[in-house]
Symmetry: C2
Subunit: 442 residues, 2 copies
Amino acid sequence: MSRKLHLNAFLMSVGHHEASWRLPESDPHASWNVKHFQELARIAERGKLDSIFFADSPVLQGDPGRRPAGKLEPTVLLTALAAVTEHIGLIATASTSYNEPYNLARRFASVDHVSGGRAGWNIVTTAGADAARNFGLDDVPLHADRYERAAEFVEVATKLWDSWADDAVLADKEAGVHADAAKVRAINHRGRYFRVDGPLNVPRSPQGYPLLVQAGSSEDGRQFAARFAEAVFTAQQTLGEAQDFYRDLKQRAAALGRDPDGVKILPGIVPVIGDTVGEARELDAELERLISPEYAKRQLAERFNLDPDDLDLDGPLPADLPTEDEIEGAKSRYTLIVDLARRENLTVRQLIGRLGGGRGHRTFAGTPVQVADTIEEWFGSGAADGFNIMPAVLPSGLVAFVEKVVPILRERGLFRAEYTGTTLREHYGLPRPANRLELSKV
Amino acid sequence: MSRKLHLNAFLMSVGHHEASWRLPESDPHASWNVKHFQELARIAERGKLDSIFFADSPVLQGDPGRRPAGKLEPTVLLTALAAVTEHIGLIATASTSYNEPYNLARRFASVDHVSGGRAGWNIVTTAGADAARNFGLDDVPLHADRYERAAEFVEVATKLWDSWADDAVLADKEAGVHADAAKVRAINHRGRYFRVDGPLNVPRSPQGYPLLVQAGSSEDGRQFAARFAEAVFTAQQTLGEAQDFYRDLKQRAAALGRDPDGVKILPGIVPVIGDTVGEARELDAELERLISPEYAKRQLAERFNLDPDDLDLDGPLPADLPTEDEIEGAKSRYTLIVDLARRENLTVRQLIGRLGGGRGHRTFAGTPVQVADTIEEWFGSGAADGFNIMPAVLPSGLVAFVEKVVPILRERGLFRAEYTGTTLREHYGLPRPANRLELSKV
C-alpha cells in the first residue's frame, strides 16, 4: 500500500485570515454559533479528512474590537460536533499549565467515549502573562518549567487512562460483580508538580488515549514532541526548513526508541484558492485590504516586546530585536517571523500582510492544481506526512479545498477515497496504546 | 395563572437503586454509553420536564466491583444531550474545590451557548478525602473553608459572565469594528482564594448565567443556597421536615433581600411505580433482594466513620455515633439517615434496604395515582416548588413517570402541557440576570 497523506482542517471562527469576518459572506457571530462549526465538521467529513482541530488558550486573545475574539470551550465544541458526525477525528488544544490532570484526563476520555474513539488532544503549555493572570499568577511560568510540568502532566494523564484495564468490566449480573476490582487501580502518582491517587472515574476509552498532538517547535517543544507526540502541527515557510524540521524530529523520536513513523508531521498551509490564478490573487488582495494596519502593528510589537512606535509601517524591522532566548512564549514562531521578514526584505506593512492569513504559517494564493502540486511536492520530498489546512475564509475556503483540491489528491493516489477505520488513531495509521497497568502485572 | 410544579429528572447510570444494573432489562455498560443518556433526555423532553440533572464528583465513587462506578464527565455529557434535544434544561454538578473559576465559567457559558440557553450548574464543594487526593491534597479542606471558597468562586464566575456586555458585539464590517472594546472588560478580581483578571474569552451567553443550583442542606449549605441558589435539590424524608426546610430556606433568602420565589425548592423522590400496589411492591422487593448487604454495610460504616464490624446487620445502629459536627462531608445527609433509622426503629439491614434506592432520598413504591397524590400533597402544603425525580431503574422508571404520573399531574392542572419558553430559566420562571458590569457604568 502506498503511503497516504494525512489532512487535518484547522478551523477558526470564519477563517484564519484576521479580516475574514469583514467579507460579505461571513457571519460575524459564527465564533459562538455551534451550527457554524457543525456545518464545517460535516464539510470536512464529506472530504474524508482525517480530523478537524481547534486551537485554544484560557484567555481572551487579541483585540475584541478588531476581530472575533471569544470562542467556545473546545472540549464542549468537540462534543457538539461528535453528535453530528460519524468518522472525522476531533482534536482540541488544552493547556497543561492551567488545568488539573485528573479533570482534563477525564474530559478527554469522556469525549473519546462519546465520539466512539475520535478524540485528540493538542498539548500546549500556554504562553503569555495575560493567561497566567487568569489563574492567580503574576506572570507566565518560565518556558522550561512549563515544559517540565507538561511532561509530568502527560505522565499522570496516561497513568489515569491506564487505571482501568481494558477488560475490567465484567458485568456479571448473576454474581453481582460489576467490575474486577483488581483491574481498576490507584496510580498513586507523586511528582514535582502533581500528587494524584486515582483511579480515573471513567473506564478506559475506545482509543485508550486520545491522539496526542503537539505544536511547539522550540528546542523544548521539539524534545517534548519527540517524546510524546503522535502528530505534530508546525509552521514552516520554506521547503528546506520543513525538511530540516522533519528530519530533526524523526531523528529525535528514533533516538528515544520510538518508531519515527509513529510521529506524523503536518505543516500548516493557508491556501487562498481561486479557479484561476487571477481569482485567487484577487481574493488575497481583498483580504489584505481589509486588514487594519495600526491594529496589526500593535500585535506585532507585542510579539517583539517592543513599543508600537518602534515599528515603521513602511520601513524594515528594527535591526536590534530580542534574541529567541529573551522571548518567553511562542519562541520558534518569533524566529520564523524575523527570518521571513529579513529573508524577503519585507517592510512592516508587507510583513503584516503576510502574517494576516496564517500568523506565520505558509500562505499562498493559487489554483486547486497549484495547491495540490505544493502538497505533493512537500509530501514527496521528506517535508511532511500530511498538512494542517488552515482556510483563510470559512466555510468557503474549506468547501473549495474539499471540493477542488481533495479530488486531485485522490486522483493522484495520495489521499483516501473512503474512511477505512472508525477511530482517529486508525485514520492516522497509529496503534491503540497498550495499557501499562496490565503490562506491569506480568 | 395557577402555580405550576417544576420537575427535574435526576439521572444516574441505569437507575438510582444500587442494584438496578442487575435487573434483566439493564445494560450494565450504559454509564459510559452516550446513546443511553440521549434516550433518557428524549424521554424526559417528551414529558415536558423542566430539566435533567447529573451529579458528579472528581473521584471514583463507590466500589467498582459492586456497581457501575465510572461515568462520563457531565459538561461533556450535557453537550452531547443538547445536540439531540430542543427544550429540556441540562444541569450538571461541578466542584468549586477542584476547578479553576476561569475554566469552569467558560465551560458553562459554552454549554449555554451550544444549548441555546439550557445550561444549569449544581454548585458543590465536594466532600471526601479521596477526591482531595486526586488534586495534590492529603485530606479534604474543612467544610467551612470549602464553602468560603465556593462563595468566592461563584462571585468570580458571575463577574466573568458579566465581563461582556450583552450588546458588546457590534459586528460593523464597514468600519472594521467587531466589538465595542469598552464593553468587554477586565474584572481584576483579588480575593482570598482567587486572583483573576479576565475578561472571559466567550461572550455573555443566552441565559446570562447558567441556572445556579445547590444541594447542600447543612447550616453552611443552607446559607450558601439562600445567597446564590435559584433551585435547591434536597433530601427530605417526611412532610414535616420538608415544610421546615422549605420555610427556613425561603426566610433566609428573604432576609438576604432576595425574592423567596426566586429560589425553587425540589425535594428528591425515588418512586418505584407499578400499575397496582402489588406490582410496585414486587419490583421494590426484587431490587432489595439484589442488594449485596455486606457491601452496603461497608459503605454505611464509612459514612459513619465506623469499622464495618461495629455494625450488626440484624441489630439497630450503635447508640454511640459521631455528632454531625464531627462529620466533614454530607453533614445533613448523615443526620437524616441516623434520624430515619431511629424514628422507625430500623435494623441495619432494613436501613440498607431503605437507602438502596435513594441514598437518603424519599423512596416509595406505589401506583401512578399514589405518586401523583404525594407530589400534589407536598406541593400544596408548603413543602416543595417541584420535585427531583430519581427513578430507581432507567430507562423504565423514567418512562413510567412520564407516561403514567405526568399525565395525571397535567390533568390536575399542576404541570405544563407544552413548553412555553426556550431557556432553562424560562422553564423555572426565573429571570435572566442583569449584567452588573453594565449597571456599574451608571
